[in-house]
């Protein structure tokens, strides 16, 4: 009886949590399929009367939405790959080697995480301008990669620290040099941490608005965050298209999370070296 009651409360809690997280999403979905004359209505029905995909069609036809998504995906993937690649080797050095300034370097990386993003807008803008990369993908990728690098390095360093050094030593005795030992033994073992770093980079770059606002000025080059904002006019905001866009942009992130979850779980079950 006691356990039944316990399970009842656990289920109740989970159901509440699911409702709280999905309700706003469902409301946005409901707004996105409302016909144009009923956008601002107090109707609570999930599928409104006269539901239509017109907002979606308009979004594709009347705006650069596909281009925005493409820009976002390009910048996001480039940022994530560059960020994870650089972080994986930098973190390895921090984890395995002793060098002057190691402690200082790690603290400095942590310090950068304490500076609010807004404060960095101006210096970032100035640097990207000096590099002549304003309104380019490369400028965005550089700005994003550097700002997420410290976090990725910390995550990966923490993970490498848990991998016993004897694995690399065994590889080296087996005939590998340090680089081969890293690529063949340490990297494959670090997939869980690499996935977390990748996801972090991905969501950060995918949702970023402030830096994009100052670096990109041509609507064709916008990322979706700027693009959606474009739909908000001074006198009228196209809520239908706004909602449709909002729903669509969750799809890539959702797919990435679903795909990478298998790596995250496999990481949790990875055994240690000795029994």
């Amino acid at each position: 009886m006691k356990t039944k009651l316990k399970y009842f409360f656990i289920h109740l809690f989970i159901i509440m949590a699911v409702i709280i997280t999905t309700y706003p999403l469902l409301r946005i979905f409901s707004v996105s399929i409302r016909p144009g004359d009923r956008i601002i209505s107090t109707d609570l029905a999930l599928i409104p009367a006269g539901a239509t995909f017109i907002s979606y069609i308009k979004l594709f036809k009347e705006t650069f939405f596909i281009k925005w998504i493409f820009n976002s995906l390009l910048i996001t993937f480039a940022t994530s790959f560059i960020g994870v690649t650089l972080a994986s080797t930098a973190a390895y050095a921090f984890s395995r080697y002793n060098f002057t300034g190691k402690k200082w370097g790690l603290s400095a990386l942590l310090l950068t995480q304490m500076i609010p993003a807004g404060m960095l807008i101006l210096p970032l803008y100035l640097m990207i301008m000096k590099l002549n990369l304003i309104n380019t993908y490369l400028g965005m990728v550089i700005a994003y990669s550097v700002s997420s690098l410290p976090f990725s390095i910390w995550i990966l360093k923490g993970y490498y620290d848990t991998i016993p050094k004897s694995l690399e030593e065994a590889a080296m005795v087996d005939g590998a040099n340090e680089i081969t030992a890293f690529y063949k033994v340490i990297l494959p073992l670090s997939t869980p941490a690499l996935s977390i770093a990748f996801l972090f980079n991905f969501t950060m770059a995918w949702n970023e608005y402030l830096v994009a606002r100052v670096v990109l000025y041509h609507p064709q080059n916008y990322t979706w965050t700027l693009g959606l904002f474009e739909l908000q006019g001074q006198f009228i905001t196209q809520w239908g298209m706004f909602a449709a866009g909002s729903i669509l942009i969750t799809i890539p992130v959702l797919l990435i999370f679903l795909y990478s979850s298998k790596w995250l779980i496999s990481g949790l079950t990875l055994g240690s070296v000795k029994g």
Binding site: P164, G175, L270
Partner: protein, 364 residues
């Protein structure tokens, strides 16, 4: 097939000297066991030979090649680690063929060697398993298999059995001996367990505080320990030590110790005259204390009180109170003597070990 030589090898971290002037020669085909308490530098010595640790001074040779600056991969050695260090993301087969793939060996050759090693170690049915699906003993065998497939010149073992339970350890010890007899390659084995050292080694190297204390066959280090450290480290239960003064009474000499006198035959010393009225430490192994009166030198027997008896099955450890403050341990076949009994004992004089209390070195 290889000889290993350490010439004046030193290792220090800053001012902290870990190994001092190590000179050691391990001949081709020898099973050398380096044994010592933790922190004595034995693992460091092995890691220096493997190339995983830099050498501060001296030279290391494998055959005639000086290996001081060679990376581990070029030394043609194989090492079995204490924690096995199996690659967790590879199957047993992949673990075993990793080194051969790096060497870019022919596929058929890799297959042949892996099967060969798997046959020796009875791993055939486990080849497609992941390390986490194996038991401790199986993992250990895979780690050894990974070393065998490479056909190395020297095998290095770094406390390979220390993570196994007692029974498995015994089994693996026998497996290792069989393996050694089959491969007859040079093997260097590090352990802190003196039983492992005694049972496996053809040559024992005993280390303490970064210095080699004695090198010899197991029986040599057991029967003629060169100093008190070796004497106390090798053998269970530990050797008994009695510190006292040598005195002569008429023709006989005795060890005078807290109002007690123990007869010591003159032949125990090379030159007993030198030690009259001087302090020495007498070492006697528990096995060399005679409690059976029929086998005893009755004339010179001593009295003691049984303090504690530890029954080990067929044998027992008897702790004898020989003075107010001193207990010694004797091992006998089960005599079932109750505690607090007064009994007689004598020493097996042929196996007395006499040490200088200052230098702690053997003097007989």
């Amino acid at each position: 097939m290889a000889e290993v030589k350490f010439i004046n090898v030193t290792k220090s971290y800053g001012e902290n000297v870990i190994l001092k002037n190590i000179n050691l020669e391990i001949k081709d085909g020898e099973f050398a066991v380096i044994v010592g308490p933790s922190g004595c530098g034995k693992t460091t010595l092995l890691r220096m030979l493997a190339g995983l640790e830099e050498i501060t001074g001296g030279e290391i040779y494998i055959n005639s090649t000086k290996v001081n600056d060679l990376p581990p991969s070029k030394r043609e050695i194989a090492m079995v680690f204490q924690d096995y260090a199996l690659y967790p993301h590879m199957t047993v087969k992949e673990n075993m063929s990793f080194a051969l793939k790096l060497k870019k060996l022919d596929k058929n050759e890799i297959e042949k060697r892996v099967t060969e090693a798997a046959n020796i170690l009875q791993l055939n049915h486990l080849l497609n398993r992941m390390p986490k699906q194996l038991s401790g003993g199986q993992r250990q065998r895979v780690a050894i298999g990974r070393a065998i497939v490479r056909h190395p010149k020297v095998f290095l073992f770094d406390e390979p059995l220390s993570n196994l339970d007692a029974k498995l350890r015994e089994e693996m010890r026998i497996e290792l001996l069989k393996l050694y007899q089959k491969l007859s390659t040079t093997m260097i084995y590090v352990t802190h367990d003196q039983i492992e050292a005694m049972t496996l080694a053809s040559k024992i190297i005993i280390m303490n505080k970064g210095v080699i204390q004695q090198i010899g066959t197991p029986i040599e280090v057991y029967s003629k320990p060169q100093n008190i450290f070796v004497a106390s480290f090798i053998g269970t239960p530990t050797m008994n030590f009695i510190r006292g003064k040598i005195v002569s009474e008429g023709e006989k000499i005795y060890l005078e110790f807290e109002k007690n006198k123990f007869f010591i035959p003159a032949f125990s010393f090379t030159d007993y005259q030198k030690y009259i009225d001087k302090e020495v430490i007498i070492g006697i192994r528990p096995d060399d204390i005679i409690l059976d009166e029929s086998k005893m030198d009755k004339e010179n027997a001593n009295k003691a009180k049984v303090d504690v008896v530890e029954l080990l099955g067929a044998r027992e450890n008897i702790y004898l109170k020989i003075s107010e403050t001193k207990n010694i341990c004797a091992t006998t076949n089960s005599l079932k003597i109750p505690p607090q009994t007064e009994i007689k004992f004598s020493f097996n004089y042929l196996n007395l070990h006499i040490f200088d209390p200052e230098t702690e070195k053997r003097i007989n």
